[in-house]
Structure formats: structure tokens, C-alpha cells
């Protein structure tokens, strides 16, 4: 098993004719993902690597079941594309676009909550259930993806897309496969945080432990610590904390939009203390993650 | 001067008007350009070649992409 997507998942790509989306489509198909359609207004009747293109999301949802949508349109059109997908009844939306204004993100996230849809991102590389399917550019070409990601029992979540791949790769090199890896996005407000995805991993019998990448700024690590304390989770969690140098540089934005030390709770020192107090092991280097997980899995 | 990539054009290309246009169209990094009726390569863009093979798919052996680092 896995969470969010598997080999049965059928999804569409909004903005499929864009330069990066064309490449992504080919990579997804080569990996075995079921890309059933693409949407670009005015391009109805074309195809991208054999995937049919329509003008609207409804052109697909009215004639077939669609599990998800990847939104790969420019920032100015992202909110519209997400609203269109939610309104058409799609329940899983992965937004790869960067630089979407925060208020627009908050609006479509609230709309998704109302309609029972789940949003991953924005500003993310997407989701992969290794050996089954992937949604988004995560891992790149199918061959590179297979090298970094292998099927197994560790759930991965990361605020950084690139570090999702780096962590999965370190797990793979150490003989630990992954159930599902989710690049959750680097913005200050995102559709799904660590704590919000934990119950899904909790319910997945194939997931035995969790690895996360964390960084300064925002309340997401504190929220995960709260979840771990309150939920009696069966899953051991190992976190890697990047950006330790930023503690001494409040007010300066490095990395993602969500990464800025504004208050005391935003520093890495504070986050590490909170997570450790909640039983989460914090690694200083990526290569320590597999050993810390193995210890906790008794493997 | 390009350091990494050289693109050789077969002289016979210049007779094929459609192919010349097509090469200008397909290259994602604008390596081909028409100087009047003559197809040329743009020196400043050669190193940006992504080895996508779209030009060789279109022109076969009449275009040769040479990796200068090999």
C-alpha cells in the first residue's frame, strides 16, 4: 500500500503544453503513471506524448473518473486552475507552481477544505509511491527516479522538493525503501503540512516509519511535535533540520518563501528542542537518517 | 566561442527550404537561424544545446552535433 496515489490513480495535468510540463508528462508516462489528460485553454484536440488535451477540466471529469490534477500553470493563473479543478470534483490537487501570492493560496486551500479536496503544494515537486506512480516532477526522468526511490516502508515528507529526493536516495542506498514520499512545498501556507499527512501514513499498514526534512520559519515542526505528543503515533519519526546558520540572522529570507526567522519559535534550535521533546529524533546529517530509523524500527 | 558543442551542417541542407525552417522551429535553445536564405548556427547558443536530438530527428545525418568534450 501507499498513501495518496498508487498504480490505479488517474490524473490530468493543467498547463500540459508548457515547456516544463511537456518534459514532466513524458517522465510520468515512462514511470508508469496514468496521465489521462491535459488541459490548456485553446489547445483542445492536440496531444502531448499521446495524452489528449482539452480546454477545460470538466471535459474530462464529465466523461471519466479523475482522481487528481497536477497544476503546472504560471503563478498568475494558478488560483483559477485550482478553483476549476476543485469545482469539477477532483479530490487531489498537486500544485507545482512557485510564487503564488499567499492570500490566493489561503483562499483555494479553504475552498478545498470545504469541498473535501486535498491540496499538496504549492511550490513542490509532488508525490511518489515508488514502483506504483508519481504525480509531479519528483525524481526527474523515470530512470533517475528508479535510482533514488525504491518501494518499501518509510514515509518521506519534505518542505524542500530537492531534499525529498536526497533523503529518499539516502534511504535507498541504506536498503530502506519508501512507501510514499511527499514534497509538501516550501511556501508559508501550503495545502498539507506534516501533521496533516501523518494520519494517512498512520492508516497505511505499509508505512513503518517517517523521515522528514525541516527548516527554519513557520509553525509546521511545532505542529508535528504537538501531533506526536497527542496522537500516540505508532510511527517513529526522524527529522533532518537544515538552515541552522539562520538562527543568528533573524529577518533575512534564505531558501523558500516560508523560511524566515521572525520570532523565537522560528529558529532551528527551538524547533529541534520541541521535536526532541516529542520523541522525534533529529539528525545532523542526511546520512544519519537511515541508521536512526533502523534503530527505532528494531531492524 | 562555443566550448562544449559544435553543430556541423551538411551543405545539401541549404537546398531544402522546409527542413531549414523546421530546424529553426524545433531547437529549444535557438541554435539555428536563417541569414536570408542561408541556414546558420548561432555561436552564442551552441553551448546551451540540451542534446534533445530534435534537430537530428528532423534532418538525419545532415546535421551533426559534436560534443567537444569527448
Amino acid at each position: 500500500m501507499a498513501i495518496l496515489i498508487d498504480e490505479q490513480s488517474r490524473f490530468i495535468i493543467q498547463g500540459i503544453t508548457g515547456r516544463e510540463a511537456v518534459t514532466m508528462t513524458r517522465e510520468l508516462l515512462n514511470y508508469g503513471a496514468q496521465v489521462v489528460g491535459g488541459v490548456t485553454p485553446g489547445r483542445k484536440g492536440r496531444d502531448v506524448h499521446g495524452v489528449p488535451v482539452e480546454d477545460t477540466v470538466r471535459a474530462f471529469t464529465e466523461r471519466m473518473h479523475v482522481d487528481g490534477a497536477i497544476v503546472a500553470v504560471p503563478p498568475a493563473f494558478t488560483a483559477d486552475a485550482v478553483h476549476e479543478a476543485i469545482e469539477a470534483g477532483i479530490k487531489l490537487i498537486v500544485i507545482v507552481t512557485e510564487r503564488v501570492p499567499r492570500r490566493q493560496v489561503a483562499q483555494f486551500v479553504e475552498y478545498a477544505e470545504q469541498e473535501g479536496a486535498r491540496i499538496i503544494g504549492p511550490n513542490c515537486l509532488g508525490i511518489i509511491s515508488p514502483g506504483k506512480s508519481k504525480m509531479g516532477g519528483i525524481g526527474g526522468a523515470a530512470e533517475s527516479t528508479r535510482r533514488a526511490f525504491t518501494p518499501g516502508h518509510i514515509g518521506v515528507m519534505s518542505r524542500s522538493g530537492g531534499m525529498t529526493v536526497e533523503i529518499a536516495n539516502a534511504l535507498t542506498e541504506a536498503g530502506l525503501g519508501q512507501s510514499t514520499a511527499v514534497s509538501i512545498g516550501g511556501d508559508a501556507i501550503i495545502g498539507s503540512s506534516y501533521a496533516e499527512l501523518m494520519p494517512l501514513f498512520e492508516a497505511d499498514p505499509a508505512t513503518h516509519g517517517i523521515a522528514i526534512y525541516s527548516e527554519p520559519g513557520g509553525p509546521m515542526e511545532a505542529q508535528l511535535a504537538d501531533y506526536m505528543r497527542e496522537s500516540n503515533s505508532r510511527l517513529p519519526v526522524v527529522a533532518f533540520m537544515a538552515g541552522r546558520f539562520m538562527d543568528a540572522m533573524p529577518g533575512v529570507r534564505f531558501g523558500h518563501a516560508g523560511t524566515i526567522v521572525e520570532g523565537r519559535a522560528d529558529t532551528t534550535a527551538e524547533k529541534i528542542a520541541r521535536m526532541e521533546a516529542a520523541g522525534i529524533a533529529v539528525a545532523e546529517r542526511i546520512e544519519q537518517i537511515p541508521a536512526l530509523l533502523k534503530q527505532r524500527l528494531g531492524a | 566561442m562555443a566550448m562544449f558543442i559544435r553543430v556541423d551542417l551538411d551543405a545539401s541542407l541549404q537546398q531544402d527550404v522546409d527542413l531549414k525552417k523546421r530546424l529553426v522551429e524545433v531547437c529549444p535553445v535557438d541554435i539555428f537561424a536563417l541569414d536570408g536564405d542561408t541556414l546558420t548556427t548561432v555561436d552564442a547558443n551552441l553551448d546551451e544545446c540540451t542534446l534533445c536530438d530534435l534537430c537530428t530527428d528532423a534532418a538525419g545525418a545532415r546535421v551533426k552535433v559534436v560534443k567537444l568534450y569527448e
Binding site: 470545504q114 522538493g161 536526497e166 508559508a188 501556507i189 527554519p216 | 566550448m3
Partner: protein, 399 residues
């Protein structure tokens, strides 16, 4: 991006929030004549993009225009947290009966804006929240439904405020929340919000931050406040090196090569991207390395962009070698990066083999990248060498 107090107050005034009479002055002469026009006692406040002005001596009181001139001279000559004041705000002094606090900001956990209100203003709100929790209210509002009066009323009433004060405070809180939404702010704060002895309310100090990504959509506002596109409003103004870094990014739309931040060290970094850069910068420091810069490169940049960033980093005096490192890449190509950094070295008149301490970009097209690096004699490592190990090896090569 942060606004100066005088700009934040312009927005408050535009939206009907009462303020002290005030004038923004750029020179001591202007401050003196402003004080003369205002008449009576004045307060002069340094206009910098940082807090702690009072403690730093950036807020002074004056009884006469001459005192105002002296105070302005002192303020204008006083940098605060390394910032030269943009000017001085001269305001009439008012008699205050009570101080309140109100702010609107994002609650990333709830994913909604939140109004924070307190009837104990003027001091550190986090401290009040700890010591007097009943005097601080937190009230969220919907991103979708129209912003209605009752939300602001709830925020105020929750701290126990009632009677004649409830309606005027509700109006101010509502106006501030509207400003927050309308201008894509990430923080809109009035502290203190003062009740005067006549029972009316005015905003004594205000702090507003706008989301960086919203600059494009808020051009009209920025024009109204006469804020230029080049005015970055960072906590510290960018160095010429950092300005050149932004130029490298803007020159080419393919990929990103930005967020260049200058440090004092001897080791140039060409690292990427968001999370990878944070990890690698830590790794270099923990290995005892001295970074000359922070940067982010990724998103499948062109050869030209990678070359320009490399050349820029090498142009910084004291940079002996550069380390080129990334996490396992998905869409950025190792071979394109290899071409770019080698070209950047050669453009800077340096031998790539001697200049690139290490190249660690595993992932797409890595075999092709390896061929290029071998040809130029550059040491490269694959994914079997971790990011921290790669950083360590690079640091070991520094003099």
C-alpha cells in the same frame, strides 16, 4: 517587504484611522519647520526598517522647534542595527489615557488571517500573552467569506472591552483587517493604539509588511508611496555583489540563480536550490569552512546563467576556490551545470581544475556531466558521497 512607519501611517490615514498630526522630514531644517507648524510639544522618530528604535535612541521628544532641530540632527546621524534612517517623522504629542494593541497577520497553522487584540498595548505582546492571557484575544477570519464587522467586534470584546469603547475600537480593527487583505500584507500592526483623554482613539505607531510575491500585483500602491522597483526593503541594504547576483538572475528566465548573500569567507559557493542550499551552507560551516557567499541555483538554469553566477562568485576578492554542490537533482541537469561552472571559471581567467574544489551534482544527466568534468580535470563525486562529506572534502582543499 517592510514599510516605513510614515508609509504605514499614510495607509491608515487613507482608510480612515485617526492619527497624530505629523510630517515626514528628511533634514533637520525640515524637522524644525514641521515642529513649528505643528505647534507645541513634538516627538521625533527615526524612520528605519527595524524595531527597537526607542532603546537605540531613535525616538526623542522636543518642546520647541529648536529642540526638534537638535533632536532631528541626532536621529539622522544615528544608524540603528546598521541602517541609516530614511528620515525622521515629526508628530504632535498627545495625552494618552490607555494603550491598546492590534495586529493582523497570517496564522500558517490555521491557514487564515488572525486578528490579535489586547487592551494592554505599548509593550511586548508576547510577554502580555504569557502573563495576562485573558487580555490578549486571537480571532481568525475566513479567506472566502466577506470580512464582516462582527469579526472585529469579537476580537475586541473577547478582552472584556465594552460600553462606549467597543464601537470605535471595532471600526479601527476592521479597517486594519481590510488594509491587511487589500494590500497583501503579512503583518499590519498598530502598537500602541492609544485612547486619548477626550475618549477618542488614534494610532501612535504602526508596522506593516507586504508579501514579496505581491509586489507585481500592488504596483499602484507602491507608486502611490513612491517606492521604486529597485528598493528591496531588506533588513540590511544589498551589497553591490548581491545586486549583481540579482542581475544574473534577471538576465535570463531559464532556471533561478539568485538570493546571493555576501559573507566574509574565502570559499565561493555555487549551491542549490532552496533546501539544498540551506543544508550545504550548514555543511560547509560545520566542516570549518568559511563561505564567501550564500546562493541558490536550480530549476534547470541555462549554461549562461550558471556561468554568470560562477564568474560573479569568483569576482569577489579573497575567493580562492568554489564548491559546486546540489542535492540529487530532478529537473536541473548535471551536464548543463558542469558546462556552466567550467565556462564561468574560464571567463574569470581561472583554471577549472584548480578553482573548483569539488563538484557534487548527482541525478539527471550525471554521466554526461562526468565526461565534461573529466575532460577539464575537475574533481567530481557521485551520490555515494553525501552532501556533508562533499562539503568536508571541499573545505579540506582550502588553504
Amino acid at each position: 517587504m517592510r514599510f516605513y512607519e510614515y508609509e504605514a501611517k499614510q495607509l491608515l490615514a487613507k482608510h480612515g484611522v485617526a492619527l497624530p498630526k505629523r510630517t515626514f522630514a528628511r533634514t533637520a531644517d525640515e524637522a524644525a519647520s514641521a515642529a513649528r507648524e505643528l505647534g507645541g510639544a513634538t516627538v521625533l522618530k527615526s524612520q528605519v526598517l527595524t524595531g527597537g528604535r526607542m532603546k537605540a535612541g531613535g525616538v526623542l521628544f522636543a518642546a520647541t522647534p529648536e529642540e526638534a532641530r537638535t533632536a532631528a540632527e541626532r536621529i539622522l546621524a544615528l544608524p540603528i542595527s546598521g541602517q541609516q534612517p530614511a528620515g525622521v517623522l515629526v508628530e504632535e504629542r498627545r495625552d494618552i489615557a490607555q494603550e491598546y494593541y492590534v495586529a493582523v497577520t497570517w496564522d500558517a497553522r490555521a491557514k487564515r488571517p488572525v486578528i490579535v487584540f489586547s487592551d494592554m498595548g505599548g509593550i511586548d505582546i508576547e510577554e502580555v500573552a504569557q502573563t495576562h492571557p485573558a487580555h490578549v484575544s486571537r480571532t481568525h477570519f475566513s479567506n472566502l467569506r466577506p470580512l464582516s464587522d462582527y469579526v472585529a467586534k469579537l476580537a475586541v470584546a473577547r478582552t472584556g472591552v465594552t460600553g462606549n469603547d467597543l464601537a470605535p475600537l471595532t471600526r479601527i480593527v476592521l479597517n486594519l483587517a481590510r488594509i491587511f487583505v487589500q494590500y497583501d500584507l503579512t503583518l499590519a500592526e498598530i502598537n500602541p493604539l492609544a485612547k486619548l483623554s477626550d475618549g477618542s482613539f488614534i494610532a501612535l505607531d504602526s508596522h506593516m509588511d507586504m508579501e514579496e510575491e505581491a509586489r507585481g500585483g500592488q504596483r499602484a500602491l507602491l507608486a502611490e508611496l513612491a517606492i521604486a522597483d529597485t528598493d528591496t526593503r531588506q533588513a540590511r541594504p544589498p551589497t553591490p555583489f548581491e545586486v549583481d547576483g540579482a542581475r544574473v538572475d534577471a538576465a535570463d528566465t531559464r532556471g533561478v540563480a539568485g538570493r546571493v548573500v555576501e559573507f566574509d569567507g574565502n570559499m565561493g559557493l555555487v549551491i542549490g536550490a532552496g533546501g539544498g542550499s540551506l543544508t550545504l551552507f550548514d555543511a560547509v560551516r560545520s566542516a570549518g569552512g568559511k563561505p564567501a557567499n550564500y546562493c541558490e541555483i536550480g530549476g534547470n538554469p541555462s549554461v549562461a546563467k550558471a556561468a554568470a553566477l560562477t564568474k560573479l562568485v569568483l569576482s569577489k576578492p579573497g575567493v580562492q576556490k568554489i564548491a559546486v554542490m546540489m542535492n540529487v537533482v530532478s529537473n536541473t541537469r548535471a551536464d548543463i551545470m558542469a558546462r556552466g561552472v567550467i565556462k564561468g571559471c574560464i571567463d574569470a581567467g581561472r583554471d577549472p581544475a584548480q578553482t573548483i574544489a569539488i563538484f557534487r551534482i548527482p541525478g539527471s544527466w550525471e554521466e554526461e556531466g562526468a565526461k565534461i568534468l573529466r575532460r577539464y580535470g575537475v574533481e567530481y563525486v557521485d551520490r555515494s558521497v553525501s552532501m556533508h562529506e562533499a562539503a568536508q572534502r571541499a573545505v579540506a582543499k582550502m588553504g
